[in-house]
Subunit: 504 residues, 2 copies
C-alpha cells in the first residue's frame, strides 16, 4: 500500500513535469508558426519561466526520496513494465538534472538566447568575428557543463549524452569513421556519374504552392497523417512538434521554384509518425517521447530518403505529380525525375546537401566540435579551419562565413553534440530498413502501390510504441538484433548510386 | 536596500505567475482554434496542471511574507506608482486566492469540466434532467466557495467579485433595475416600429466568406489591428485572447448567409484594443489585464454597437460593403441597412439578441442566479421558471430547453456571477461614450470619415493604459468623473430607437 502510494505520487509528479515540458514545446511551435512578430520579447520571458518551473520540479528533493523509496518495488516488478520503466528512466532524468547547478542552467539559457540573436546578425553580415565573443562564452559555459559529469570517458560524452542518452563518443566515432571511409569513394564516383545540372536547372518552372500543398497532403495521408490528430502549418525552418500522441504538428514551407517541400514534409512526417506511434499508455509520462535524436532522425530520414527518394515511390506518385505540375514536368520520365532528386553533388550548405554528401558535412562538424572542446582548435581560427576542411572533404571553396562556419544555428544555441545524431540517424534508418525489408519481402511492390500500412505497422511494433522505455541501444537491439553499424547504410548508398547513371 | 530586494523578489514571483497565466490563456486559444480534435483529453490534463502550478505559486507563504515586509515601502511611495499598485493589487489577489482551499479549487475544476461535457450532451438532446445532477454538484460547490468569503453583504457578492472585483450585488442590482424599467417600454415601442421582417429575410443572398474576411480586416485595421502585433483565426464561438500586449489574438466565424461576422469581429476587436492599449510598463505583472468584465465588455460593445451599428459608421463602410456583396445589397440604401442591423425583436437566444432586448436576457439570468444561490428556486424547476419569465419579459414561447435554460455554457462551468457584467458593460460603454463625445465634438464626422484615431487615443488615455492599476470603480471614476449609472445608456437607446422608424 505504501509503495503504491509512493508510486502514484511519483507518477503524478512526473506527469506534471511532462505536461509542462509539452506545453513548452507547444509554445515553441506557436512562436515559429503563429505568434505575431512583436510578441517575441514577452514570449522569451514566458519560455524562460516555464523552463525554470520545470527545472525546479525536476530537481525537487522529494523526487529523490520517492526514487529511493521505490527501489524495492522497482526490483519486484517486471523490468519491462510501465512501472519499472517509469522509475528507471525517471531516476536517470532526475540524477542528470541534479548534476547541473540551477545557476549554470540559467546562465546557459540566458547566454545562448543572446548568442542566438548575435548569430542571426552575424550570419546576415557574414561577420564571424562579431559572433566570436558570444561563441567563446557559450563554449566556456559548455565546458563548465561538461565538468558536472566527471564519470565520462572523454569530455564530448557529456554533450553527446544530451541527444543520444548513454552513447559514448568512441562508439559514435567508430561508426562515423567507417561511414567516412565508405562515403568518400561513393561521392567521387557519383560526382562523375551525374549529369552536371542540378534538379532545378533541369526542370525549371513554376510549381504552384496550392498544388504543392495538395501533393504533400496526399503523400503524408498515405503515411498516416490524419487531421483528427495532426495538423500542418507554415514556418521558415520546418520542424515537428506535438501536444500529445494525438496532437502532432508538422510544419513546412513552399518554394514556388521546386518541390523541396515534398521531401522536407516527408522528413517531418517521419518525426511525427514516431511520436504518434508511441503506446498511448505512456502518455503524460517521461517515457512518451522518441528515445534519442538518432532514432528520431532514422524515422524522418527513412520517410524522406529511403522511401521518399526511391524509384517505387515515384512510380506511384509521379503520374499525380505530373498532373499537378504539367508545365515543368509534362515531358519528364519518372526515371529521370528519380535521378534528379537523388543527384549527388558536393555543396556548401548542409541543409541543402544531397543524401550522400550530407554525411561529410556532419563528420566535419563532429570532428570540429571535439577539437574545440579538447582545445585543439582556437575559436578565432574556426573560419580558416572550416574552409580548409570543406575543401578537403567536399572539394568546395567557401566564399564567405555565411556560407561556411556561420551557416548553422546549433553552436550559437549551445547545441554541441547534436550534429552527429543526424548521420547516426542515416545509419539506424538503413539498419531498420534491412530488417523491415526482410520481414516484408514485397515492400518495394507495396511502395509502388502507394501502400504504407505494413511498413508503419512494422515500425510501430518494433520502434515507435516503446517511446523511452528502453535505452537507445536496447531499442535498436530489440528492433534489429544488433548494435550501431555503418555497413547497411553503405550498402544502401552503393545500391542507390549504382542506379543513378544517366540513361541515353 | 532590503526593501528593494524584497520588491524585486515580489515582482519576479508575480511575473512568473503572470507568465504562466498567459501561457494558460494561449493554450486555451490553441484549443479553440488549432488543436486537432483528438488532442483534447491530454490538453485537459495540461490545463489542469498549469492551473495547479499557478495556484501553488499564488498561495505561497513566501508571497505573504513579502507583502507584509513591503507595507512600509508601499506607504512611502506614490499610490499611483507601479510599485504601490503592484503591491496593492498583488496583495488583493493573494488574499483572495488564500481564502479558497486547494482541495475545493481542484474539486471545482474537475466537477466543472465534467459538467461542461454533460451540458454539451444535454443541450444537444435538449434534455435538462440529464444535466440536473451535474448542475446540482456545481451549485453545491459554488455555495461552499461563497462560504470562503464571510465578509460579504449577501452571498452573490462573492460570485460577482470574480468578474467585477469590489462590486457589491446591491450596486449591480440598482443599476440593472433602473435599466429594466427603462428598457421594457423601449422594447414595446421598437417592436411596434420595426418592419416585421428580420435582416436576413430582408437581404437574403450569399455573402462570400473571402469578401467577409476582406471587409472585416479593412474595418478592424481602421480601429488599430496590425499583423505585427495581432492575428485573427477561425473558431466556433468567437473570443479574444492574448500572449502579451503585443500579441493579441482575435477569433471569428463566418456565416455565408449574413454579415454577423462583421459585428462579432468588431466586438472581439474591442476586447483586443483594450489589452493592446495597456501601458507596456505593466507587461508581465498582474496589472497587465483589463480591470473587470464590465469594463472589458464596455469596450467590445462600444466597437460593436455604439460605433459599429451607428449610421455614420455605415455611411463610411456601406459603399465598400455593397462593392463586396453586390448580389444581396446592390439595391439597398444605407439608411435601410442601418435600420436592419439595429432592428429590435424579442427572441429566444441571448447571443443572437439585438442590442436592446439583450439586456432582458441578462436581467433574467442575473435574477435567477440570485434566486438559485439564496434557495428561492429549486434547480429541478428551472426549465418551467425560465419559460415563464421569458414569456413575461420578452413575450416569447420557449419551445424546448436547448432554446431555453440550456442555451448558455456559463452555469455548467461554474460561471455564476458573469452574466450581469454583459449589461453593466453596456452601461459603462454609454457613460464613456458621452464623455468621449464631449471631448471630441466632431466624433460622428470622424466616424463617417473612417477615422478612429482620436477615439482610440481617448480610450487609451482614459481607460486602456491603466490595466488593473486602479479598482474598476476608480477606473470608471477617473474616466467619467462618476460611478455606474444606467441613464446614459437609456438616453443612447432612446435616441437610437427614435431613428429606426421605417421611412416611406
Amino acid at each position: 500500500v505504501n509503495e503504491s502510494t509512493a508510486f502514484n505520487e511519483l507518477r503524478e509528479r512526473l506527469a506534471e513535469i511532462t505536461d509542462l515540458a509539452t506545453i513548452g514545446e507547444l509554445l515553441g511551435w506557436d512562436q515559429q508558426t503563429h505568434m505575431p512578430p512583436r510578441g517575441s520579447a514577452v514570449r522569451a520571458e514566458q519560455m524562460a519561466t516555464i523552463g525554470k518551473v520545470i527545472h525546479d520540479l525536476q530537481i525537487d528533493d522529494e523526487l529523490g526520496r520517492l526514487f529511493d523509496e521505490l527501489r524495492t518495488y522497482e526490483e519486484s516488478v517486471d523490468s519491462d513494465s510501465l512501472e519499472a520503466s517509469l522509475i528507471r528512466v525517471g531516476r536517470r532524468d532526475y540524477e542528470k538534472a541534479r548534476r547541473v547547478p540551477s545557476e549554470l542552467e540559467e546562465e546557459l539559457a540566458r547566454t545562448c538566447s543572446i548568442s542566438e540573436h548575435a548569430w542571426v546578425d552575424a550570419r546576415a553580415r557574414s561577420d564571424f568575428y562579431s559572433f566570436l565573443p558570444h561563441l567563446e562564452k557559450v563554449v566556456e559555459l559548455k565546458k563548465r557543463y561538461v565538468d558536472c559529469f566527471p564519470d565520462v570517458d572523454e569530455p564530448y560524452d557529456a554533450l553527446l549524452d544530451d541527444f543520444e542518452p548513454g552513447m559514448r563518443t568512441a562508439e559514435a566515432r567508430a561508426a562515423l569513421e567507417q561511414l567516412k571511409e565508405g562515403v568518400v569513394p561513393i561521392v567521387a564516383r557519383a560526382a562523375e556519374a551525374n549529369a552536371g545540372d542540378d534538379y532545378r536547372a533541369r526542370y525549371p518552372g513554376v510549381y504552384p504552392v496550392d498544388s504543392q500543398r495538395l501533393l504533400v497532403e496526399e503523400i503524408i495521408t498515405t503515411f498516416g497523417y490524419d487531421p483528427e490528430s495532426w495538423r500542418i502549418d507554415l514556418t521558415a525552418h520546418p520542424f515537428a512538434a506535438r501536444g500529445g500522441t494525438q496532437d502532432i504538428r508538422l510544419t513546412t514551407r513552399f518554394h514556388v521554384e521546386d518541390l523541396s517541400s515534398v521531401f522536407s514534409t516527408m522528413h517531418e512526417c517521419g518525426h511525427g509518425l514516431y511520436e504518434h506511434g508511441i503506446d498511448p499508455a505512456l502518455e503524460r509520462t517521461p517515457l512518451c517521447n522518441g528515445v534519442s535524436m538518432s532514432l528520431h532522425e532514422s524515422q524522418s530520414r527513412m520517410f524522406e530518403n529511403v522511401i521518399g527518394r526511391s524509384l517505387p515511390f515515384w512510380q506511384h506518385f509521379f503520374p499525380r505529380t505530373k498532373e499537378l505540375f504539367p508545365e515543368p514536368l509534362a515531358n519528364v520520365q519518372v526515371e529521370d525525375f528519380y535521378r534528379a532528386v537523388n543527384e549527388v553533388r558536393p555543396s556548401l550548405i548542409r541543409i541543402e546537401a544531397d543524401e550522400v554528401t550530407y554525411n561529410l558535412h556532419i563528420i566535419l562538424r563532429f570532428e570540429l566540435e571535439q577539437d574545440i572542446l579538447e582545445g585543439r582548435v582556437a575559436l578565432r581560427d574556426l573560419p580558416e579551419i572550416w574552409n580548409e576542411r570543406m575543401k578537403s572533404y567536399l572539394g568546395v571553396d567557401v566564399p564567405d562565413d555565411a556560407h561556411g562556419v556561420l551557416q548553422d544555428v546549433h553552436w550559437s544555441g549551445g547545441g554541441f553534440g547534436y550534429f552527429p545524431t543526424y548521420s547516426l540517424g542515416n545509419l539506424v534508418a538503413a539498419q531498420l530498413w534491412e530488417r523491415l525489408a526482410g520481414d516484408i519481402p514485397d515492400v518495394n511492390d507495396q511502395i509502388a502501390a502507394g501502400e504504407f500500412r505494413a511498413i508503419t505497422d512494422w515500425l510501430r511494433e518494433h520502434v515507435w510504441r516503446h517511446g523511452r522505455k528502453y535505452t537507445p541501444v536496447e531499442t535498436l537491439r530489440r528492433a534489429v538484433g544488433g548494435s550501431l553499424d555503418a555497413k547497411p547504410y553503405l550498402r544502401y548508398l552503393e545500391a542507390k548510386v549504382a542506379t543513378l547513371a544517366p540513361t541515353g
